[in-house]
Symmetry: C2
Subunit: 337 residues, 2 copies
Amino acid sequence: MSELRQDIATKQWVIIAKERAKRPHQFIQRQERVAEPEYSPACPFCPGNESQTPPEAFAFRESGTAPNTPGWRVRVVPNKFAALSPGEQVIVTHPEIFTTINGIGGHEVIIESPIHNQTCATLPYEAVEEVIKAALARFRAFSSDSKCGFVAIFRNNGKGAGTSLIHPHSQIIATPIVPTHVRQEIEEARRFYDDRIQCVYCESLARELEADERIVLNTDGYVVLVPFAARMPYEMRILPKDHNPTFANALPDDIHEFAFVLKEALHLLYRAVDNPDYNLVMHNAPLRDSCQDYFHWHVEILPRLTTPAGFELGTGIYINTSVPEEIAQYLRGMCQS
Amino acid sequence: MSELRQDIATKQWVIIAKERAKRPHQFIQRQERVAEPEYSPACPFCPGNESQTPPEAFAFRESGTAPNTPGWRVRVVPNKFAALSPGEQVIVTHPEIFTTINGIGGHEVIIESPIHNQTCATLPYEAVEEVIKAALARFRAFSSDSKCGFVAIFRNNGKGAGTSLIHPHSQIIATPIVPTHVRQEIEEARRFYDDRIQCVYCESLARELEADERIVLNTDGYVVLVPFAARMPYEMRILPKDHNPTFANALPDDIHEFAFVLKEALHLLYRAVDNPDYNLVMHNAPLRDSCQDYFHWHVEILPRLTTPAGFELGTGIYINTSVPEEIAQYLRGMCQS
């Protein structure tokens, strides 16, 4: 019989379809892939094509090189097809029931490497660290804009995860409101705190380390685990051990170790299921609601090996056709190999 | 500049990316399709293969034909790979923070036609009406089981919408709990009611009919519209004009007209974007929480023409690259042709 599991933090339920569950290695999708070159003349993110993007907002580049020319290692540019853009004033309207806000905010692309066919999983740690530093710099820049309420940092890897460009990149979107989904996540964390005077993520981490069934990686400052109520095969969560509601407060040492852990987690996924499509999402507290005692930043890695369908869309309950403990064990074994 | 819109009922925000929006006809995906035959010997849902499914729970069949043999027009069987199954007792456990429930409930497939290559959009009204009647019969059967808390009725059309079998079918899953997502939807409806002593869906319907910008179809008892805060291109909602928290209460006349409206809406989508992949989800009140005054059953049609990515997964905010009013106008024009 299958099992329903509830995520203690979000109250979201998930169905672990144990009987129809595949073995960890059965999720490898041998899709026909076109081998990409290191440099693609048509790619707007490749060096030499800097004029094809809006002017850069941030870059790590070789000394002596000019903005918007080659010589960068990481480059942040506004999204050419921005979902939200900087502006003077947030304007809310609500004639009758039709509430709208003008599309104020920001939408930037972090080009993670000058090399066209790299991915975060195969970049050296030092390069991943610079990507994180660039993301943090832009996160902090948006944080100081009083028109922004929330900053989403995410990565779409592969076509099935919604990306259109192969060249390795992450994205940042700053929204004028706090998304309802985020509010709900925070509300659940606050409720847990009110009941127990304890952060739900700190408590989960302690119980997970104790159970030691779903831990993939355990370093001084971070834990990578397969969530107890994982929604999909190979879902992973990266949790910092120190309680902190937002990554915006990260210190250089935190960043250094986080780069190592992030790259390890992505590389494990890359090896385990042959560079699958996935989404990576950072969860941070909203900008003007510090959630100091009860929210705890973390990263979700969501592989797109299965397709959410009507049941998932209608109920929010995912049917996961893998057993979290088996996946964790498989990945842990891979760490040691 | 793009626009954020909030769904008054769910408080979910959506971004209408007006500037990057495609025109309605640009969503047609000319994918290579293998023409399916009317009968496929290998298909477990085709007549003659009844023994390949678990025994039927319900059927409309020609008089004189025996259960689990050909002669049926609509056939309901338990899902061979059921996510949830009937059982004696709901057992909840919560050692530490790890809450689970055994996989009690039900998971059935409604085989909508004996003809392998039909779809709900191309079936005659009478056939769609029998599909709805079969769904309703099973909905009512699950409703009388005190171990069930909620019944999800949905349809996955096409591979991109998560289906593995082409033969036209819908699904019913009965869950022992009320999904958190459903609770949130209901909580928002209750809050609106508490503020205004008015059903939020009744109010929306009145304002939508007044605005007349997003209405696709308007019959005596139903309205088909593109939601003001549609999350994806060609999203449609079917709303009954009479306030009723659940379809379980539907009378024969309601069903008759609903069959007409449902088939019309699906046929419009079929013609407009060339039989796209889509999910269809019914939204009904939970079984043991009547929500009498404030919830209002409805149907959501969610075409999978775009891919939700990290931003959607992390924030719940969809980036919709179409303008709801344009899509509605395009579909309305098609109604008259």
